[in-house]
């Protein structure tokens, strides 16, 4: 299921990081490139919505991509909330976020 999404959003030819690793996103296994920003891995796998706001429950995703806006906050096991655009993919990473995906 995630394979198809990877091929639709990722054109891996222009990436100089080659090592594929598995991470877990809300219980699902997702293939990602070691060292890439976590936000890229999430977007590639179709997880565009990364959280919901506390006040109104509105969906949010990566906006600035450079650690300024904090919209891409996701929960990493053992590390608490991090900005997905600043966190780097490591094998076995476990990410918890809003149930919304496409």
């Amino acid at each position: 299921m995630n394979e198809a999404r990877i091929t639709t959003r990722r054109s891996s030819c222009d990436v100089d990081l080659h090592q594929w690793v598995d991470i877990t996103v809300s219980g699902k296994t997702v293939r990602a490139l070691r060292g890439e920003p976590l936000a890229s891995a999430l977007m590639a796998a179709g997880f565009v919505t990364m959280r919901h706001t506390l006040k109104t429950g509105a969906p949010r995703g990566m906006y600035c991509g450079m650690g300024i806006c904090f919209e891409c906050l996701v929960k990493l096991n053992g590390q608490g909330f991090v900005r997905a655009c600043m966190a780097k993919v490591e094998p076995g990473l476990e990410v918890e976020m809003g149930e919304d995906e496409r």
Binding site: T8, R9, R10, S11, S12, C13, D14, V15, D16, L17, L33, E36, P37, A39, S40, A41, M43, A44, V48, T49, M50, T53, K55, T56, A58, P59, R60, G61, M62, Y63, C64, G65, M66, G67, I68, C69, F70, E71, L73, G80, C85, K88, D100, R102
Partner: protein, 478 residues
């Protein structure tokens, strides 16, 4: 040494920001004998201009990107110390910086400090701009450049300013399917005001022509004098509505049209990262034309705090060529200030650099004049549009607070909680300042920016408690 909690790194010149300005300053200052350290927030040198570029070997490189990359390569073997992936979370008036890098903490004492923290993309509020899938052009470019991931399969590029066309062209080159480029500035405005810019810089004219041809070649419609008025979707963005602007810069209601999209990449120009200057107590000045606060500085790039210099986008948005010149000036000035070099030995070089800088400043101003101002989207936005994304405060609520208040930013903050969210105001205070500057209450030149407090960037609480100083993660580029 790393086990000693009192150990600290001492340098002549600490440089925060490893972009074009920081790299140029390090090389200039190191050549004049200063011991330099660059603290870079991301994992690598080069700044945003390099970070958004594809690393594919055959990818086209603009001259400013190539020059910046060449400079970063020259740092190898220059003896300049480099700490990447580190943020400055606090500063002390005793010229001490506190850095956090992963799980380690650094204390840096410096005799001079150059803040070259660059710029970020300005907020561009419109109905639906908080939906997932709406992102800055820079965010989309970093996705494609760093991971080969496209922001979506049907992408609208919208906004205003000189970066929009470049971003659209580079996204297309990276394989993104762009459905249209929507530039708020009309062709007449661009033609009348842009002619002087192009006459002053044939390079820029050629560059713009190349970008436009790339869009034409890809069959991407370029809609000038148009704006995106709304984005919608159940979850991530699914559609966008665009409209042409009338002569009064208002969207024409009965000529709105909607299109299916799964991503919108926006660009509303840049604003400087000024938070470190604020923490250092540097005086800031609101530039009414640029609609942003900048640190007050002189031609030697000294700020109001004697040991602090400013270079690059933080002194005024002007692109990498201006940043490279300013970095060199600041590096030389720091060496002069610390007595590492005699004035007569660098006077000719400095005079030439200052002349080049003035020329770049004039060019930057005329480029700005070619486009409609950064408040265009703010003026046409619906009152229900969110001004503050963190605290979910609408423009209407903000305007009411500004009207009822005494005109000071702090007053509006206390009334609405704007700027009190997790982004610490980086996504909304510009909007507040623009509203105040356009209002009747307070002459904008007297406007005081809202203060910043440490930590300037989030730091895990455990680390604050430990405050372990370690030099073990410092690496010398060799």
């Amino acid at each position: 040494m790393s086990a000693d909690p009192n150990a600290s790194l001492t340098v002549d010149l600490a440089i925060v920001g490893g972009g074009p300005a920081g790299a140029a300053a390090a090389i200039a200052a190191a050549e004049l004998g200063l011991k330099c350290l660059i603290v870079e927030r991301s994992g690598s040198l080069g700044g945003q201009i390099v970070g958004v570029q594809s690393r594919k070997s055959g990818a086209r490189r603009e001259q400013d990107v190539e020059r910046t990359e060449a400079l970063c390569r020259r740092l190898n073997g220059s003896g300049v110390e480099l700490i990447t992936g580190a943020t400055v979370w606090n500063v002390e008036p005793s010229q001490v910086l506190h850095l956090v890098r992963g799980s380690s903490h650094h204390r840096v004492t410096c005799h001079a400090l150059l803040v070259a923290t660059g710029a970020r993309e300005r907020p561009m509020p419109f109905a639906g701009w908080t939906l997932p899938g709406v992102m800055t052009c820079g965010a989309a470019q970093r996705l494609t450049a760093q991971s080969g991931v496209v922001p979506g399969n049907r992408v609208l590029v919208a906004g205003r300013g000189p970066l929009l066309l470049r971003a659209a062209a580079e996204l297309i080159e990276a394989g993104v399917h762009v459905v249209a480029m929507v530039e708020a500035t009309g062709v007449t405005h661009l033609a009348v005001n842009g002619l002087r810019t192009l006459a002053g810089s044939t390079d820029r004219a050629r560059q713009a022509g190349r970008y436009a041809r790339r869009l034409l070649g890809a069959g991407v419609p370029m809609l000038f004098g148009h704006v995106v008025v709304e984005a919608g979707g159940d979850g991530p963005v699914e559609w966008a509505t665009i409209a042409p602007l009338d002569r009064g810069s208002r969207p024409v209601r009965d000529r709105k049209r909607s299109m299916p999209v799964d991503a919108i990449c926006v660009s509303n120009g840049l604003e400087p990262n000024i938070e470190l200057f604020q923490a250092l107590g540097c005086e800031l000045v609101y530039d009414v034309e640029a609609q942003a606060f900048f640190p007050r500085h002189d031609e030697a790039l000294r700020t109001s705090v004697p040991w602090v210099y400013a270079a690059g986008e933080v002194t005024g948005i002007g692109g990498a060529p201006k940043s490279l010149i300013e970095g060199e000036i600041a590096g030389i000035q720091a060496a002069l200030g610390l007595g590492a070099v005699q004035e007569e030995n660098v006077a000719i070089r400095l005079r030439k650099l200052v002349r080049q800088r003035r020329k770049r400043l004039r060019q930057a101003r005329s480029v700005d004049h070619a486009y409609v101002g950064p408040d265009l989207y703010l003026r046409i936005a619906d009152p229900d549009t969110l001004a503050c994304r963190c605290e979910e405060i609408t423009l209407g609520e903000l305007r009411a607070a500004v009207l009822e208040g005494n005109g000071f930013p702090r007053d509006a903050k206390l009334r609405t909680r704007i700027g009190m969210g997790i982004c610490q105001g980086r996504m909304c205070l510009t909007t507040l300042y623009q509203e105040l500057a356009s209002g009747v209450h307070h002459p904008s030149l007297q406007m005081e920016p809202i203060r910043v407090r440490p930590p300037l960037e989030p730091v895990p609480l455990g680390q604050l408690a430990e405050l372990v100083t370690s030099d073990s993660d410092t690496e010398t580029v060799a």
